[in-house]
Symmetry: C2
Subunit: 348 residues, 2 copies
């Protein structure tokens, strides 16, 4: 993409990962008995370059909010004004993402990258509107190339800002009425899956609306040149929060901080990020498996297995927040559990 320089993402530290695996085998537990937590611990060692890895805290969930021209196509039963209303609700601490963030000790920040309306100013809210909503992706490109670039850069900047403020675990969040539609379009375009396989009911589409939504996604994707580069795909069929999240993932990875993915919006953004910078995937943790079918298609394409699977389909960052204590437990296990020698425990 002309005019945009993405930060470099280094590979994971193989020495720290090997040290983590060796340490797991000396801890007072049967080898391998902590399953995926052991792999997660090694990933955190590789990300931070230290074994045992530091406890990934404090935690910030960044809720990127935007509106979508495709809302006019009737792809959701909810009015568009809900986006700005929910921005205010999250700022006031009343949304599900706030309750779950309090549960796991995470701070919530909101970044308006393209909401149509204006929420009242709030200390949690950064206004960085690229525009007041994207254009309708059924009629043409959702974003201009310049808009897409600026949204990605906003995401990178906010990852840096949070890491500079001391956060050591980043969590993706999103708000945006109709945003499962561009998510499905991005996933179809970037994985080759049929729109019918990756389009879901979002916040509550009934059968007829779902069929219409699949058609909307199909029309959007059919406009794309099969050889389009990832920034062009993003601009044509994505959204401002998708672009910002892609940048956020790359920014976190560039600063060697793990990022926990929420649902289908984050997963579609991760496909964009991985297409721009394949090295980013090693820094990602799939927080949960959303009920939206596109999330599973995207995670499979990325080679990521989610930590939690509780039939959630809310977004906002909620599913990813439920995975935060699991990620922290993986680091804590490596750091705090006694070895067989130290605890004088016999071995098999």
């Amino acid at each position: 993409m002309s005019g945009m320089e993405l930060p470099a993402v280094a590979p994971l530290d193989a020495v720290a990962m090997t040290a983590a695996d060796a340490r797991q085998a000396r801890l007072t537990k049967p080898p391998g008995s902590m399953g995926r937590l052991e792999a997660l611990g090694a990933q955190l060692a590789g990300i931070t370059g230290v074994c045992p890895p530091p406890l990934p805290e404090p935690v910030a969930v960044a809720v990127f909010a935007g509106d979508h021209g495709v809302h006019a196509q009737g792809v959701t039963p909810w009015p568009q004004e809900v986006t700005v209303q929910m921005v205010a609700n999250v700022c006031a601490g009343g949304a599900v993402v706030n309750a779950l963030a309090r549960q796991v000790g995470a701070d919530v920040v909101v970044v308006d990258v393209g909401v149509v309306g204006d929420a009242p100013p709030h200390e949690r809210l950064t206004t960085a509107k690229v525009a007041r909503g994207t254009a309708d992706l059924t009629a043409g490109a959702a974003m201009t190339p310049d808009q897409a670039r600026r949204a990605v850069e906003t995401g990178v900047t906010h990852a840096y800002r949070l890491v500079d403020a001391g956060y050591r675990l980043l969590v993706t969040g999103d708000l945006g009425l109709a945003n499962t539609t561009p998510s499905a379009a991005l996933i179809a375009a970037l994985t080759g899956a049929d729109p019918s396989e990756v389009t879901g009911r979002g916040a509550g589409s009934e059968d007829a609306m779902l069929a219409h939504k699949v058609d909307v996604v199909r029309r959007a994707v059919s406009r794309l040149d099969p050889d389009a580069d990832p920034m062009t795909v993003l601009a044509e069929v994505g959204g401002f929060e998708h672009a910002a999240l892609a940048g956020f993932l790359i920014g976190g990875a560039a600063r060697r901080v793990p990022v926990v993915l929420d649902g289908v919006i984050a997963c579609s953004a991760a496909l964009v990020a991985a297409a721009l910078e394949p090295g980013v995937v090693a820094y990602l943790v799939a927080g949960h498996r959303s009920q939206e079918p596109g999330a599973t298609v995207a995670l499979r394409s990325l080679g990521l297995e989610p930590l939690v699977d509780l039939d959630l389909r809310l977004g906002e960052g909620t599913g990813a927040l439920l995975a935060v204590p699991i990620v922290q437990a993986a680091a804590r296990m490596l750091a705090e559990v006694a070895t067989f020698d130290a605890a004088q425990v016999s071995q098999a």
Copy 2:
């Protein structure tokens, strides 16, 4: 069981559960979008009889420890002395259960209900040995009827003690070399499953040892009268920690406190508890799906779906602890999320 009076377990409070479902529908999120967390919130309301339910905290994990005569049959590659060594390790705070308990803010207590050796005294440790290990279940009954009764009563007593001390979420833990063997025998006996379907590798049995273990379980179960009552099944093929855990579940339910199940040892104990008092199941939360195949068979029989599935097979309470923040999040969501009216958010 003559001589043992089990406490009564009341049904869940249907009014509180209906109120919880109604409240979920008014919270600022698409109806049903928080999936299994919504059902969990309603269960907590039903258990406590209040909507919204109080945050289930503080949390205690009770690690019941015992040894098993069947260890002599070579069903695990680990020496029996590891049980008492691990009791000391948990008391010292060095085991995985301690690290994960610190992660989720839970307190750890250890109850020795039948370890062969003696760990040094510790403020975390209660010594309530029924005997120094059970008898070998391949040769005859693992416990006398009186031993089984005393172990169950110890579990009930410890649930009461923790609830009286203020704990509002109980978590099952266990320590006991060879204890996946009596777990498999209990599950086979109480569900009718074949021993080959419910016997796993435990802490690391290789193929030949696993085949031998299946045979050991088959011999134990074949001794049982098909019409044996649950206390007889428990005494014949169970273990002290299994009996204590069954009592712990009943005690927690009787005091209207939710109990989170760990892996296969807890799941087999839950089958015993449910056979003694079917009402207890409504108070249980399946923390995770252990890699041990018997755990899944037991959970299916109980009608419980686990919250976490991370290929764990350690025990101690570790998998259940990872589910604690999810359980708390369910209560917190009901209590703290704003309604559509209060937050002035439009609806579909």
